[in-house]
Amino acid sequence: MPRINRNQTKEKMDFSALKKTFLYCKPYLPAIIISIICAVVASVTTIIGPEKISDLMNTITGSVMIGQKINIKEVVDICVFLVCLYLIGAVFSYVQQYIMAIVTQRTSKKLRTDINQKINKLPLSYFDKTTKGDILSRVTNDVDTISQTLGSSIANLISSLVLFVGVTIKMFDTNWILALVTITTSLMGFVFMGVILGKSQKYFNKRQAYLGDINGHIEEVYTNYNVVKSYNGTNNEKIKFKQNNNNMYNVEWKSHFMSGMMMPIMNFVGNLSYVLIFAVGVSIIVGGGTSVTIGTLIAFIIYARLFSQPLSTFAQSMQSLQQASASSKRVFEILESDELSDESNKTVKLDTVKGDIEFVDVKFGYNEDKKIIKGFSAKIKSGQKVAIVGPTGAGKTTIVNLLMRFYEVDSGDILIDGKSIKDMKRESVHDLFDMILQDTWLFGGTIRENLVYNKQGVSNETLDKVCEAVGLNHFISTLDNGYDTVLTDATSLSEGQKQQLTIARAMIKNSPLLILDEATSNVDTRTELVIQNAMDNLTKGRTSFVIAHRLSTIRNADMILVLKDGDIIEQGTHTQLLNQNGFYAELYNSQFSEDE
C-alpha cells in the first residue's frame, strides 16, 4: 500500500551530498582546474587595477600641486596598461564562465539521464513509497537547482577568495590605518544586513506557506466548482479566500520591505567608508604622513568596493550551496536506492511455452510485519482461464505482481511449465505475459506508436487485423490520419476506446500467457461486451488470469479463486461455487437482491 514518507527535518549545513555531486563532475576535472585558474587571473587583474588608478591620479595631481603640466606620455602609458588589464580580466572571466557552463550543463544532463535510467532499475515497491510528483521534481527542479547554483558558486567562491585575500593584503601593504577603517565599516554594514536578511527570510518563509494555503484552496474550489455552486458555497469560499489573501498580504509587504532595505543600507555604508577614508587620510596627511596621497585615497575607495564584493558573494554562495546540497541529497537519494538484483547469470528460458502454472505455498507482504498473501497454492493447467475474485485488499493484484516478478515472493515458489520464475531473468518472465490493467496507459504520440510500442517490424496488415479483432477498426477509419493520428490531451478517447487500444497493444505483443487486471472496470457493460469478444479471442488457447470485481465478466472462467485476506477460501467454477452457497454466492447475489 502506498504510504508517503516525508519527514524532512530542517537541513543543517550538510555538504556530504555535495561531495557526491562534485565527484560527478570528475571527468571534467581538467576543465574545472583551467576554469579556476582563469578565475584567479581575473581576480588578480581586479586587484592590480586600483593601484594603477592611484598612480594615474598621483601623476595628474602631483604635477598640478607643483604647478607643472601633466606628463601626458606617462598618463597614456598607465591608461594603455589599464585598458589591457581590463580586457585581459574580462576575457579570463568569460572563459571561466564558458567552461563552467559546459561542465555544469553536461553534468546535469548526466544526472538527469542517470535518474531516468534508475527509474527503470528500481523495484516497484519504490514507487509505492514515492509520489510521481516527487520523482518529477527530482529530475527537473532539483537537478536544475544544482546546475544553477553549483557552477556559479564554485567559481565565484574561489575568485572571491582570491579577491578577498588579495585586497586585504594590498590594503595593509598600502596603509594599515586606512585598511582598518575600510574593513571595519564594511563589516559593520554586513552585520547589520545579516540581521535584516534573517528577518526578511522569516517573512518570506511565511509568505510561501500562505501561498501554499491559497493554492490549495483555489485548486479545491476551481476543480470542484460544480459542487461549490450547487451547494451555494460560494460566499463561504469567498470569505475563506479573503482571509488567506489578507494573511498573505500582511507578510508579503513586510518581506518585500525588509529585503528592499538592503540596497539603501549598502549604499550608505559605501558612502560612509568614502567619507571616513578621506577624513582619516587627510588627518594622516596633516599629521605629516607622506605615505598617503590623493591617489591612495582614490585607490582605497575602490578597495572598499572590492572588499565588500567577495563578502556578499560568500553569503550568497553559502546560501546557494546549501540549496544545492539539499537538492543533491534528494537526487542521490534516488540514485543510491537499492536496485533490482543483477540477473545476468540466469539462463533459464522458456522457448516453447505450454502454460502450466503452479503456485507453491506463496507467502508475501509489502511490509515485513504485514503479510498480504499467506500461503497461496494453486495448480493451473495449460489453456485455462482463471478468475481471481474477492473484496478490495484481499491481495488479487498482489498475485499478479508476484507472477510478473514485479515483487519477489517472501517464501514459496511460482513455476511456469515446471520451471521456477526465480531462475529466469525478469525480462524473460515479462516476455511470457500480455498484461492489461485497469489504468489504461497511453502516451503522447501517434496511435501507431502506442500500438506497436517497442516491438519492431509490425506491418499495417497486422495492425488492421488486431484493430478489427478489438473493434477499433471503425473508430480508426474515421480519423483523418488513421494510425498516424497523434494522441494528445485534446484527443478525447473514451475509456472504452483507450482500453481497446491497450488490448490491441497486448495482442500485437502476442505473448503466450495473459493477465487481465480489472481490465474492463472502467467501461460500461455494453462496451465491455465488445471488448470481451476481443479478449475472448485473446484468451483462446492461452493460460489467462482475470481479475474483476464485476462478477458477470468471469462467469465462464474454468476456475474461480475466491481470495479473502490473503487466503483462498473457495475454489471452483461459477456453478459449483454458487451451489456451495458460501462467500462467492453472497457476493454474487448481492447485486440482484432487491426487497420488494
Partner: protein, 579 residues
C-alpha cells in the same frame, strides 16, 4: 487594471514618487561634496576641518538618501502587495461566477496559475517598476543636466558607454529571449517523458520497453541541455561586458581629464580634478540608471503576458446569467425536459438531442446507457451546470433559466460520479454551504450520515470533527462517496440527483444505501444515472439513452420487452433466468 488600486494606494504612490525625487536630489548632491573633498586634498593645502565639514554634509545627504529610499521601499511594498491582493481577490470572485463553459475554456490549472503565478509576476513588476521606472528617468535626466555643463568630452564618453551597454545587452538578450521562451516547453517535455515512464512503470516493464522509454527521455534531455548551454554561454557575456564598460568609462574620464587639465590655467587645475572625481560619480549614476531601465525591459514582457492573461479572465463575459425568480410554484419536485438539445460550443454535433421526459414529484427516474452516451450531460442541465441550447428544462413548471441561481441550487442536490470532499472536517463537509450555525450534535447530521451509510465516522477518534485532507485523500473511495451522498441528504433539497454515485460502492453497500434512501426520502424526486441494472430496476421510470437520444422509456419489465438495447445491457450483466 489600474482600478484595482484603491484611494489609499494612490496616496502611497504619490508619497513614493515624492520620496524618489528627494532621494535623487540627495544622491546627486553628494558628488558636489566629493568634488570639494578631492579639491581640498589635491590642492596640497588639506585641512582636517574642511574634510570634516564637507564629509559631514555628504554623510547627511547619504543618510537622508537612505532614509527616503527605505521609506519609499515601505510604500511601494505596501502598494505592490495591496495591488496583488486586490487583483487576486477580483480574479477569485470572478472565477467563482464562471460556469462550466468558461471553466472549460480556460481549464482549471490555467486559472490556478492565473490567480497565483501571474499575479505574482505583476506584483514583482509593480514593486520594482514603481521605483525604477520613476527613479531611473529622473536620475538620468537630472544627472545629465548636471554634467553636460562641465565638459563636452566627458559627456560624450558617458553616452558612448551607455550606448555600448544598451547595444550589448540588446544583442545578448535578443539572442537568448527566444531560447528562454522555449525552455518551459522543453522542461515540460522532459517532465512528460518522466511522468510517462513512472506512471506506466508496470506496462513499461511488462513490455521490456525500458530502452525505448530511455531513448525518448534522452531526446528531451538533449534538447533541453543544448538550449540551456546556449543561453548560459551567451548570458555569461553580460558581466564581463558590463565590467569593462564601467571601468573603461572611469578610465576614459581620467584620461581625457589629463588633457583638459593641461589646457586649463594653473589656478583652475585643482578644481578640474575635483570636477573630474565628481563627474566620474555622476557618469556612473547615469549608467546605473540606464542599466536599471534595461532590467525593467527584461521583465516587462513577462509582466505584459501575465497582465493579458489576467485581464482575459476579468473581462470574460459570463455565459450564464442568473434569473430573478425567487419563489417556486405550488408544485414541488417536478422536473420536466421539453425537447432539449445541447452541444458544446466548439462541437458540431449535438451531445444530446430532443430529450423529453417528466419526473413527477416523489418519483424515481433512472438513466442508463453506455459510457459517453450523454447521461451526465442530461442531468447537468437541471442545475444549469450546462446551459440548454434548444428546448427547455422546467423545475416545478418554471424554466431553470428564470430562477435566481441560488434558489435553483437550493432545489437540487447533486452527487457527482467523482466524490468531492473539501479540506476541513467531516462536519464542515456534510453541512457544506449551509448558512446557519449548526451544532455538532444536530440530529440532521446523524440522519444524513446514517442514510448514506457513512456512520463509520462515529467510530473515528474525533467523530464528525475528524479532519479531512485536501481532496479527501485520507478516506477511501467508497468512504468519500458515502460522505458526499450524506452531504446531499443533509441539504434536504426537493430533487436529488445521483450521477453514477453508487458505482464506487460494493454491491452490498450500494443496495443498503438505496434502501435507506427509498425509505427515508420517499417524498423526494430522485434522478439516478447508473450502469448497473440492479441499481435501477425498481425505478418508477427508466430512460435508456443511446448516442444522446432517448431510445426507450418505461419500467424494467416493459423495457425488457420493448427496448432491445436495454435487454442487451441487462443480458451483459445478468443471465436470462436472473432477469
Amino acid at each position: 487594471m489600474l482600478k484595482y488600486l484603491r484611494k489609499r494606494d494612490w496616496i502611497y504612490v504619490m508619497t513614493a514618487v515624492a520620496l524618489i525625487v528627494v532621494q535623487v536630489w540627495l544622491d546627486l548632491k553628494m558628488p558636489d561634496y566629493t568634488a570639494k573633498l578631492t579639491t581640498v586634498v589635491s590642492s596640497g593645502m588639506a585641512k582636517s576641518k574642511d574634510v570634516w565639514i564637507n564629509g559631514g554634509k555628504m554623510l547627511l545627504c547619504a543618510l537622508g538618501s537612505m532614509v527616503s529610499a527605505i521609506m519609499c521601499g515601505f510604500f511601494t511594498a505596501r502598494v505592490a502587495s495591496a495591488y496583488s491582493r486586490n487583483l487576486r481577490e477580483a480574479l477569485f470572485n470572478k472565477i467563482t461566477l464562471f460556469s462550466s463553459a468558461e471553466m472549460k475554456k480556460f481549464s482549471t490549472p490555467s486559472l490556478i496559475t492565473r490567480t497565483t503565478n501571474d499575479v505574482s509576476q505583476i506584483q514583482m513588476f509593480v514593486a520594482m517598476g514603481l521605483q525604477v521606472i520613476v527613479k531611473a528617468p529622473i536620475l538620468a535626466v537630472w544627472a545629465i543636466c548636471k554634467i553636460s555643463s562641465t565638459s563636452f568630452e566627458w559627456t560624450l564618453v558617458t553616452f558612448v558607454c551607455v550606448a555600448v551597454i544598451i547595444v550589448a545587452v540588446g544583442i545578448i538578450v535578443g539572442c537568448c529571449l527566444p531560447k528562454f521562451r522555449k525552455i518551459q516547453k522543453l522542461i515540460d517535455n522532459l517532465n512528460n517523458a518522466t511522468r510517462e515512464n513512472v506512471s506506466g512503470v508496470r506496462v513499461v516493464r511488462a513490455f521490456n520497453a525500458e530502452r525505448y522509454q530511455e531513448s525518448k527521455f534522452e531526446q528531451a534531455n538533449n534538447n533541453l541541455t543544448q538550449n540551456q548551454l546556449f543561453t548560459s554561454k551567451v548570458m555569461g557575456l553580460m558581466m564581463p561586458v558590463m565590467t569593462v564598460a564601467m571601468n573603461g568609462l572611469t578610465l576614459a574620464i581620467y584620461w581625457i581629464g589629463a588633457y583638459l587639465i593641461n589646457q586649463a590655467p594653473i589656478l583652475e587645475r585643482a578644481i578640474i580634478i575635483g570636477d573630474m572625481t565628481a563627474f566620474t560619480q555622476y557618469a556612473l549614476q547615469v549608467v546605473m540608471a540606464f542599466m536599471m531601465l534595461i532590467s525593467i525591459f527584461i521583465i516587462l514582457p513577462r509582466a505584459i503576458v501575465s497582465g493579458k492573461r489576467i485581464t482575459q479572465v476579468l473581462k470574460t463575459n459570463l455565459s450564464m446569467q442568473s434569473g430573478n425568480c425567487k419563489s417556486g410554484n405550488k408544485v414541488i419536485g417536478k422536473v420536466e425536459f421539453k425537447d432539449v438539445s445541447f452541444k458544446y460550443n466548439d462541437g458540431t454535433k449535438d451531445v444530446v438531442s430532443n430529450i423529453s421526459f417528466v419526473a413527477n414529484s416523489g418519483e424515481t427516474v433512472a438513466l442508463i446507457g453506455s459510457t459517453g452516451c450523454g447521461k451526465t450531460t442530461i442531468i447537468n442541465l437541471i442545475p444549469r451546470f450546462e446551459e440548454v441550447m434548444e428546448g427547455e428544462v422546467l423545475i416545478d413548471e418554471i424554466n431553470v433559466k428564470d430562477y435566481d441561481y441560488n434558489e435553483l441550487q437550493n432545489k437540487v442536490a447533486v452527487v457527482s460520479q467523482k466524490a468531492v470532499l473539501f479540506k476541513g472536517d467531516i462536519k464542515s463537509n456534510i453541512t457544506y454551504g449551509s448558512d446557519e450555525q449548526i451544532d455538532d450534535d444536530d440530529p440532521r447530521i446523524e440522519r444524513a450520515l446514517k442514510v448514506a451509510h457513512a456512520d463509520f465516522v462515529y467510530a473515528l477518534d474525533k467523530g464528525i470533527k475528524s479532519e479531512v485532507a485536501q481532496n479527501g485523500t485520507n478516506f477511501s473511495g467508497g468512504q468519500k462517496q458515502r460522505l458526499s451522498i450524506a452531504r446531499a441528504i443533509f441539504k434536504d433539497a426537493e430533487i436529488l440527483i445521483f450521477d453514477d454515485s453508487f458505482s464506487a460502492l460494493d454491491y452490498k453497500t450500494d443496495k443498503e444505501v438505496r434502501d435507506n434512501i427509498n425509505q427515508v426520502l420517499n417524498d423526494k424526486t430522485i434522478i439516478i444515472v447508473a450502469q448497473r441494472i440492479g441499481t435501477i430496476r425498481n425505478a418508477d421510470k427508466i430512460l435508456v439513452i443511446d448516442d444522446g437520444k432517448v431510445v426507450g422509456e418505461g419500467k424494467h419489465n416493459e423495457l425488457l420487452e420493448t427496448c432491445p438495447l436495454y435487454k442487451e445491457i441487462a443480458l451483459s450483466q445478468l443471465s436470462e433466468e436472473e432477469l
